[in-house]
């Protein structure tokens, strides 16, 4: 039997011992709380899956079991394993297996060189695959969140004829400011808006950069022939703006969207009348 086959058989015969020792050693030198916080049954199955995954490519080192790898990384991301933890898990696993092979005589001083080479060809590609899979998954989550954020941000809503509202929610960075400007101008033209209400109720901080972007947006709106009104200015934001020394006197501003709407109706020569 080839040496790696012997190793594979020994691992599957001793998988319980390996898993047990792995958990013990990981607990001994780990700052991660996974092993302490998770219920014993989950630790048990996850550890078992981990050791099984670790041996999946021992017979054929080129083939890391894709499906199993995929499922497993999904799971450990969900459990919040960090890259550091994964790396340590792999290191601990190989030292546990190494010791075991020594104990049962599969490895000895005579065949050490060959053993080390099998180990390298076995563990390294696995480590690469796991880390690659892990980071790909994170990158994907990250980019999906960016898209979700973009979808959330800045749509211009036509509320009445000639009046549109853009509710701004969350932090405004340079990228979002650009998006706000584009959507605003495009929407004003498309919706034939005469008055646009920018609602900043949901913007946590109005610093000079945010104010600057708002002023620029309002100027641009003016250029395409509409008026821009700033609404939803919370009292603490009003005080901060004044202290910062930002000049918003060219602006029509109101504290709430409701007041802004009344004003906008006035500006376009209309009122809301209650039915008799």
């Amino acid at each position: 039997m080839a040496m790696n086959e012997v190793m594979r058989k020994s691992i599957s015969d001793n998988i319980d011992t390996i898993t047990k020792r792995w958990v013990e050693q990981m607990k001994g030198n780990s700052s991660e709380r996974f092993l302490d916080l998770m219920p014993a049954s989950i630790v048990e199955t996850t550890s078992r899956e981990f050791t099984e995954l670790m041996t999946s490519n021992l017979s054929d080192q080129e083939k890391v079991d894709k499906e199993r790898l995929d499922e497993f990384t999904e799971k450990i991301i969900h459990f919040g394993w960090s890259i550091k933890f994964i790396n340590r898990a792999i290191d601990t696993f190989s030292s546990v297996v190494y010791e075991l092979f020594y104990e049962n005589g599969i490895l000895n001083d005579g065949n050490l060189r060959k053993g080390v080479s099998i180990f390298a060809n076995w563990i390294n590609p696995l480590r690469e695959s796991i880390i690659e899979e892990y980071s790909t998954k994170w990158e994907r989550t990250d980019s999906l969140q960016k898209i979700a954020l973009q979808e959330l941000s800045a749509s211009l809503i036509p509320v009445f004829d000639k009046i549109s509202v853009m509710p701004l929610v969350g932090t405004i960075d340079t990228e979002r400011a650009k998006l706000i400007m584009e959507n605003l101008l495009e929407g004003v033209v498309k919706q034939r808006a005469e008055v646009v209400l920018l609602d900043i109720t949901g913007v946590p901080v109005v610093d000079t950069m945010v104010a600057h972007h708002i002023i620029q947006a309002a100027d641009a709106v003016r250029l395409v022939g509409a008026k821009c009104m700033l609404v939803g200015i919370r009292p603490e934001i009003a005080q901060t703006i004044v202290t910062l020394g930002i000049n918003l006197t060219d602006f029509s501003t109101t504290s709430t969207l409701r007041r802004g709407m009344q004003k906008a109706l006035q500006m376009t020569g209309r009122t809301i009348v209650e039915e008799e």
Partner: protein, 133 residues
């Protein structure tokens, strides 16, 4: 002993992290909503200046007690180009980045104590404190 929290500023999103930390510290120090907004905005300005002009640096936030007074200390430091004309930077409306030019004088007004140490080619450290009244 009071603790000092620190945030490295390398990207635009670190500015958000810094002011989030500032808001939490301000809240736990006992500041009201208006002062929380002032402190958060000041941190936002300081962090943005680091990001815009120095590229990277850090914001440190520490609750302090001096005698009977309690307050929040903010230290913004970088190893950037430094400020050549300090007087101009503190003038309202002076800007080199096309912004409003209200940042630095604004921070000074938002906070109670304000001090700049800067040297061209070495870096800038801004120390600002808000006292709990």
């Amino acid at each position: 002993m009071d603790h000092r929290s620190s945030i490295e500023i390398n990207t635009e999103w670190d500015i958000v992290a810094a002011r989030q930390l500032g808001r939490n510290e301000a809240k736990s120090t006992g500041f009201g909503t208006v002062d929380q907004a002032r402190i958060t905005t000041a941190i936002s300005e300081l962090a943005r200046n680091i990001y815009l002009y120095a590229g990277k640096g850090k914001i440190e936030i520490e609750p302090i007690t001096v005698g009977q007074r309690t307050g929040l200390l903010i230290i913004a430091s970088d190893e950037g180009p430094g400020i050549a004309d300090l007087q101009k930077v503190m003038e309202d409306g002076y800007t080199t980045s096309g912004g409003l030019g209200a940042g630095m004088p604004g921070v000074k007004r938002l906070m109670d104590d304000f001090r700049i140490e800067t040297e061209v080619g070495v870096g800038t450290t801004i120390t600002a404190t808000k006292w709990l009244h």
